[in-house]
Symmetry: none
Subunit: 201 residues, 4 copies
DNA sequence: TCGTAAGCGAGACGGTACGTCGAGTCTTGCT
DNA sequence: AGCAAGACTCGACGTACCGTCTCGCTTACGA
């Protein structure tokens, strides 16, 4: 896995002492802990090294800078978890509830905007980040795909756009407002997305 | 204007040399230029001072740190511009088109995610940022309010939620994908938001 | 003086805050103190900065590396002090006694070999070091010159060689033996240099 | 030989693979080569290991640190070679000529000051270094001893002091001046040491 | 009109973190 | 055991900015 590591050929055991897996995990744990405590921009590699009881060189041997490090630490946090109840509205509501719970109980809501903010000016980060984000959204696409097959939503719908419509309000709340998301607002958001703003005849 | 300045009472001219307005603007210009070139996290006050041909103290005399400085520079960029055609769908499409044009032709799309990313861990930034963001969204609310009055959309609708639904896809595209937004995708997004995902009977 | 400083034009007061003379001296003092305590090779710029209560940048602003810094600190230690009694043997014995006292009571005997050892591989150091050493030996030459004029020693003598003969044993003791020099050995050394090894008829 | 090695009892062959003699020599060769190229203070054990194609542990298994390693490498360089012509002046001139040739054609002149400079602050180095230096000077003492027995020089002369007088000018040239020694200056130096500075009657 | 208080560019100041390098130790698999 | 390779902790390197602080000017006001 370790998508952000600098290992030339993962799994191939070359000469010399192999990299310690405990150390790897200790660094990621320390990174997450510090992200929660001080946030991304106040996070220092030196601080991570101290917290993990590790030399700075050991961190730089694995990650070229604090960004890929934080991304890999971030990758340990939960994304969308698949739900398949046979009904789109139920699927969406349950998935969003779980996701929002994760946002409110982990540093996810804190870390994600930081990474997103850097992405614009850091092509390296962007290319590391993209597959992670895609993987996280996949269960949402799957649920929409199943709904198309069941005839619940229009056949010719662009699923990308549809997914944007559903997670959009969460993104807005996350990025433009407090960060914390009120779970009570999820159901109306899903209903709105499914039914549209116009009054039903 | 200069909401973030340290001036005790603007307009009250005490003894001594008054602050130069050219210098003030030169600093903001340099800040915007550097935000475009290197992004928020690589922006240094030292760099701004050099670019503006100004001493560092002159900057700190006006802004307590680089954050309020950047926010004020950001405040010079355009937000939503009011459109009132008498029809919600037209209003929304025109406003979004103009806004997206601004995103694609100014550093807005570059600067906004950077600021948003810092906001989470910086309460000072958050409180400075919030009124700026609110002001920017206001024309969108106004358009929705007029639509409610015209009976175009449901009376009992939470307008905050409705606005989120409309700008949500833009936010997703901005933060989770490339940054650049394809203007062709605006109309479908508005239509989707107004009609919902479900197939019309 | 400050022969090793990086100042472009000494004495010319350019723009900006001038460099603090107290800081300059505090750094030199700390350097000398640490040279005595830990020696040259264990001396770190970081340690000097801490001891002097100064930032590292303040040191590097004045000296390009620890070598010129140490040389300037070393320059504050005493060299030969002129003695003119009218008799060469008396002059030499008194000057050497004072010099050896300085060696045994200051870090001179500790610092000098360190600098000399680096000199070989560091042309920059060599060129900084040479005038300092020349200045230190000058009183010795002067005494020999006066002795030539008084007819005490041969007219055609190469004074460089003569000076080498006199300080040579000190150098040997310093570099090849313990570093500390026994003052009792000075008088015989001077007599030997003046009279030679061969038995007088 | 290898006076500085950590071997408990040389020649006693314990269990396991014996230490490779080629490796030992390759390390010493690499050390000398690097001493010449970059000097003592820029010499790194890592560099020696790379140059010798050897693991760092292999070096530390034999030498406790880079100091004894460098001293043993230094020990491979030539010292005074005995000359016995029956005449002191001839002996001294020939021995000094050969020694100075060695200085000018081997890294001796480069390495010796480096080691001497470290010696002051490194007691371990000092105790390793002392017997090596003593051994090198021995032929000089022997020549002086023979001259005493032949009545060429005074019976009550302190030979240590006499030796210092002879090699002193070389030490001065080596440590205080360029490092390179002009062979033409040797004969006058010897004559000066033997006859003294005072004009002969 | 002239002093004086503040603004100004410049850049030194004490700090903190950067990313690199080497020291000396430890851990692999191979010989 | 020895050995090459290379990861490990630790600590210093020299650099870059931070936000603060003098400097010697300049600029407009108010006495």
């Amino acid at each position: 896995m370790s998508f952000a590591s600098l290992e030339p050929g993962a799994g191939i055991q070359g000469a010399g002492r192999p990299r310690s897996e405990e150390v790897h995990q200790a660094i990621l744990d320390a990174t997450l802990a510090l992200l929660i405590e001080v946030g991304f921009s106040a996070l220092t590699v030196e601080g991570v090294a101290n917290r993990a009881g590790v030399g700075k060189a050991t961190i730089y041997r694995r990650w070229s800078s604090k960004l890929p490090l934080v991304i890999e630490a971030f990758g340990q946090l939960p994304g969308f978890e698949p739900v398949d109840s046979g009904d789109l509205e139920t699927d969406l509501k349950q998935m969003l509830h779980r996701y929002v719970d994760a946002f409110n109980s982990t540093p996810l809501g804190t870390v994600l905007p930081s990474l997103v903010g850097e992405r614009t000016h850091n092509p390296e980060l962007a290319s590391l980040f993209e597959p992670v984000m895609r993987e996280r959204r996949q269960p949402l696409f799957d649920a929409l795909q199943r709904a198309v097959e069941r005839g619940e939503i229009a056949r010719d719908l662009d699923l990308e756009r549809a997914a944007d419509l559903i997670v959009g309000p969460i993104a807005v709340a996350l990025f433009f407002r407090g960060g914390k998301i009120n779970p009570k607002r999820i159901d109306p958001v899903v209903e709105l997305a499914l039914h549209g703003l116009r009054p039903r005849k």
